[in-house]
């Protein structure tokens, strides 16, 4: 198990990257009013067939050659099971994959969100050729960052440029602060 949900997010995004996605959406939604926390990760990677998706929460399912078990998705399934939520994965070969994990926000076993700023920052900076859209909602307050908008203006300056790295961090930190999530 991962001690923070943000680490599961990093792990799931790595699945999208391994599936050759060039656009990854990460939507974190804390609906405190209805006591639901949901996470959506959507990518345009190579996708999976129906039979494969059905078995994917089983740890013995992996297409990786390096090890016989894949634990990333079973970890998330374990969390949603424990926290009275559900994990829904829909995928279309050649089109992409959507993973939706929901859980009871106030559930005692729900892991903390953790250092999501570092995770999103790391994903963007370490994968400058992949586009990311990150949306974080806390009830009606929304923060979002879309690297496609940054790239449109930055042009030849890559997202892993040192000046850009700093600016991305500032954007994430101040944006989360505005929605009341600075110290998680």
């Amino acid at each position: 198990m991962m001690p923070e949900l943000s680490l599961n997010i990093l792990d799931l995004a790595e699945n999208s990257i391994s599936a050759q996605a060039n656009f990854v959406e990460i939507i974190l939604d804390e609906n405190i009013k209805d006591d639901i926390l949901s996470l959506v990760i959507r990518d345009n990677g190579k996708g999976m067939g129906d039979e494969f998706v059905k078995q994917i929460t089983n740890p013995f399912i992996t297409t990786r050659k390096t090890r016989k078990v894949g634990l990333g998705i079973p970890f998330v399934k374990q969390i949603t099971d424990l926290c009275e939520g559900e994990l829904v994965i829909t995928s279309e070969p050649g089109q992409g994959t959507e993973l939706k994990a929901s859980m009871k926000h106030s559930h005692i076993d729900r892991p903390p969100i953790g250092d999501i700023v570092s995770v999103i920052h790391t994903l963007i900076v370490l994968n400058p050729h992949i586009d990311f859209l990150f949306i974080y909602k806390v009830d009606n307050n929304i923060y979002s960052i879309d690297t496609r908008e940054w790239k449109a203006i930055l042009d030849v300056v890559p997202l892993n440029d040192m000046n850009v790295q700093k600016a991305l961090k500032v954007d994430l930190l101040s944006g989360l602060k505005k929605i009341g999530r600075s110290l998680i």
């Binding site: 991962m2 943000s6 680490l7 990093l10 792990d11 790595e14 990257i17 391994s18 990786r64 050659k65 390096t66 090890r67 894949g70 634990l71 990333g72 970890f75 250092d115 570092s118 995770v119 920052h121 790391t122 900076v125 370490l126 994968n127 923060y143 960052i145 940054w150 203006i153 930055l154 042009d155 030849v156 300056v157 892993n160 440029d161 040192m162 000046n163 850009v164 790295q165 700093k166 600016a167 500032v170 954007d171 101040s174 944006g175």
Partner: protein
């Protein structure tokens, strides 16, 4: 949120900085980001590399990520590519990351006691 105007200024600043240095990266650091790597602390190690590079203002170092490298019990694994040589470090910690930057990336001395494997190109 960063405004369009701020982004435009950011671009000018970055382009200015780009002019004053050469194009080629002098080292590439790749952190294994499979499930085991992440569980063993790969995120913290990556952040440490990024902060260290930022702090020392090393503009020609690339930090990248890879999937599972297949040696879960040795995670976090970090590959450093420099001067035509690849070194894979095992069980890298935040302290280890700082050491790798100071000794290997900057001074070209491989950190012997942390090496998992090496490969000449």
């Amino acid at each position: 949120m960063t405004t369009l105007d701020e982004l435009r200024k950011l671009k000018e600043k970055a382009l200015d900085d780009l002019k004053t240095r050469e194009g080629k990266a002098s080292a590439k650091i790749t952190v294994g980001m499979g499930t085991c790597g992440i569980a063993a602390g790969a995120r913290e190690v990556t952040t440490a590399f990024m902060e260290e590079i930022q702090k020392r203002n090393l503009k020609d170092i690339i930090v990248a990520q890879s999937g599972c490298m297949g040696f879960c019990e040795q995670e976090p694994l970090v590959e450093v590519e420099k001067d035509g040589q690849k070194i894979i470090y095992k069980k890298v910690t935040v302290e280890g990351a700082k050491k790798i930057v100071a000794e290997h990336v900057i001074n070209g001395n491989v950190v012997g006691d942390m090496v998992f494997a090496s490969e000449e190109k």
